[in-house]
């Protein structure tokens, strides 16, 4: 019987199944960071259990780490304790790879895994972080888990799962100039809603997806969770294989050949059946800007802030009204007229080298608008940072008035000191515009790196297509 990619991955990792369908799924790669792991390690120890296979673990500190003044260490004692707890746990237990604070390869866990070749096609990848869906770009069954599940995977190398339904999201055609993977992701969420993917594993396919780089595919799969889907994935093709070749933890020699032969089968069979099919023509997608407090509250750059009065569902209408108050916006305002106070280029969605190149291309030779209080570029990892510096991108950003920082999650969730103050408005390349996400009272608009760069220079949102 023809199978979808998800069904193949499921079959390949199924250890055991209960009568009601609850399954034990074997886990190949366990990514760990400081925020969601301490209680899991503690639980393991309290129960007198040992980790099952430490060579599956790749760990780094990212959420709490500062992005400037590294010489001073981590000044917030509560954050420092959490990072030190990770250090101690990994020291005690071991790992395939650990990139601690200040390590040259430290960075956001979802950037670090793939760039080191620690995320390989066909793997099951878990992490106590919802954006683990990122790794689905490599045809992985990759998903975010809670801390109890982190402990479960540490102890048993397995995860208890029920099989998801399958959704094929096809984007055919050519993306317009200035339209990026981020815009595709936001357009997808606009279409299905933030709960549209709940219970589904989404496979992104179609010519526009095949045309994306691995960085772009990661951006897209990263946002699958914002559409409610724990898993987003893209089939293996030559782009995947070329990306992985020569990465530190990718196989070499005869094993590389053997692996590649296996990976080439990691695609849905031609006549495989999906539970749900959605077509989104690439040509219809414009640069997107969120206006509200949920990623589904999103419109194209050439639109206006929507009017709740036009919404017939009362629960939705109320949500929209609340969002407009929180965001201090009025229905009917053209998106281009919304001025920004801060700009953040970073996060596991858009902090890879390609993102920085794209933003720098818009910035080059321009200045950040004087009304913009802070424009921040936070590379996703130490490797991305050094690559960007080798290409002179840091100079482009600095010359324009951006701050060029050390890698980490930074203002994506503002656990360190990078944050919005109450009332500040931000053009952000991150993935969540929830109330207070980037700082209590802060107002987030999600955009692509190009659109964030353009907003920094204009001081308000503008259509990057007109600048290119």
């Amino acid at each position: 019987m023809p199978q979808t990619l998800y069904e193949k991955l499921w079959q390949d990792h199924l250890v055991h199944q209960e009568a009601d369908g609850t399954a034990l799924i074997y886990i190949d790669r366990h990514l760990i960071h400081e925020v969601t792991s301490p209680q899991a390690f503690e639980g393991l120890k309290l129960a007198g259990r040992k980790p099952w296979r430490v060579s599956s673990i790749v760990a780094t500190a990212d959420h709490n780490t500062p992005t400037d003044h590294w010489g001073r260490g981590i000044e917030d004692p509560v954050s420092r304790l959490q990072v030190e707890t990770l250090d101690a746990n990994i020291r005690e237990v071991g790992a395939l790879a650990y990139f601690p604070f200040k390590d040259p390869r430290q960075g956001i866990v979802h950037v670090v895994g793939p760039e080191n070749g620690a995320t390989l096609p066909g793997m099951t990848v878990v992490c106590g972080d919802s954006h683990t869906s990122t790794h689905g770009a490599f045809a992985c069954m990759a998903q975010g888990i809670g801390t109890s599940e982190v402990e479960h995977v540490l102890a048993t190398q397995c995860l208890l799962q029920s099989k998801s339904k399958t959704m094929l999201l096809r984007v055919d055609g050519v993306l317009g100039k200035g339209v990026t993977a981020k815009d595709v992701a936001l357009a997808v969420i606009a279409r299905i809603g933030t709960a549209g993917g709940t219970g589904y594993a989404i496979e992104f396919a179609g010519s526009a997806i095949s045309g994306l780089s691995m960085e772009g595919r990661m951006t897209l799969c990263n946002m699958a969770i914002e559409g409610g889907a724990r898993l987003g994935m893209v089939a293996v093709d030559q782009v995947t294989i070329d990306y992985l070749h020569g990465r530190p933890y990718a196989p070499t020699g005869a094993q590389w050949e053997q692996a590649v032969a296996h990976w080439r089968g990691l695609r849905s069979d031609d006549d495989a059946e999906f539970d749900c099919l959605i077509d989104l023509p690439a040509g219809e997608i414009k640069p997107q800007v969120t206006w509200g407090t949920s990623p589904e509250m999103v419109v194209a750059i050439d639109s206006t802030v929507p009017d709740p009065a036009q919404e017939s569902d009362p629960v939705k209408r109320e949500g929209m009204e609340r969002a407009l108050i929180y965001m201090d916006l009025r229905a009917g305002t053209p998106i281009r007229e919304i001025a920004v106070d801060k700009v953040f280029i970073g996060s596991c969605t858009n902090s890879r080298i390609e993102d920085l190149r794209a933003a720098a291309a818009v910035v080059r030779g321009n200045k950040v608008a004087s009304k913009v209080r802070l424009a921040l570029v936070v590379p996703g990892s130490g490797l991305v940072k050094r690559q960007a510096e080798a290409e002179g991108l840091d100079e482009v950003f600095r010359a324009a008035g951006f701050e060029w920082r050390e890698p980490g999650c930074s203002m994506c969730l503002a656990m360190n000191s990078d944050r919005l103050e109450a009332g500040e408005r931000c053009a952000s390349t991150s993935n969540r515009n929830f109330e207070g996400r980037q700082g209590a009272g802060g107002r987030t608009h999600l955009v692509s790196p190009e659109m964030a760069a353009a907003a920094a220079i204009a001081g308000h949102f503008c259509d990057v297509r007109e600048l290119l």
């Binding site: 190398q157 709940t198 969540r432 209590a440």
Partner: protein, 212 residues
């Protein structure tokens, strides 16, 4: 994990859709390395008028008296009633820990986000999905009736309204057993240790590059 068998409790209504886990427990409290103590900071940004910091005594902070959980009539609530897509966003298990620490043992909603749903089950909180119309009726009844309580009967998979109406719900048989018995699922999984080892060995032979 504590058992969940039957719960007869006061219902608090949170009439919003898409309540995300950042709202349930804001990021600054995620710096804790413990599993408990999150109750005072549940819905922190909505419950208080200032911005809370970890380690602060929340009893001294100014409260937002409009927020539902600050109303005297909902004090001691054990069942949270809400709308669609509850618990979306971040995978932080601190969200169910905070709900539990505050005193909630069950959440009734039209739908839940996947990761949050699982995280609840791992902590002895029962997430119950009811239809939009059933949820709407419950909201109306809670509003009209001070002291509105529901009976949640997991063994029989139903919620019983004060007027006697039965609202059946579904749950995976395996999850139900775990909740009813308070089982630790790691212990259950480890009963399959041998099978996991065999699977792993076979995998190591077939795809050795995964075990480098």
């Amino acid at each position: 994990m504590d058992k969940f068998v039957r719960l007869e409790g006061l219902v608090a209504p949170l009439d919003r859709a898409n309540v995300d886990t950042d709202a349930i427990i804001p990021k600054q409290f995620l710096k804790s390395i413990k599993r408990s103590g999150f109750g005072p900071n549940l819905f922190d940004g909505w419950r208080y008028l200032d911005v809370g910091e970890p380690g602060e005594d929340s009893s001294l902070r100014p409260r937002n008296t409009d927020f539902v959980l600050n109303k005297a009539r909902y004090e001691g609530a054990q069942i949270l009633l809400t709308r669609q897509n509850f618990g979306c966003g971040s995978s932080r298990e601190h969200a169910p820990w905070a709900l539990l620490d505050f005193g909630f043992r069950a959440v009734i909603a039209e739908s839940f986000a996947d990761i949050f749903f699982n995280n609840c089950l791992k902590n002895g909180i029962l997430p119950i999905v009811l239809s939009a119309s059933e949820v709407a009726t419950l909201f109306a009844q809670v509003e009209e009736t001070p002291g509105y309580r529901l009976l949640v009967d997991l063994a029989r998979q139903r919620v019983v309204r004060p007027d006697g109406k039965l609202l059946p719900f579904s749950i995976d048989a395996f999850r139900k057993e775990c909740l009813l018995n308070g089982w630790d699922d790691i212990g259950l999984t480890l009963r399959h240790s041998e099978r996991i080892r065999d699977f792993e060995e076979q995998r190591r032979r077939q795809q050795p590059w995964l075990f480098a």
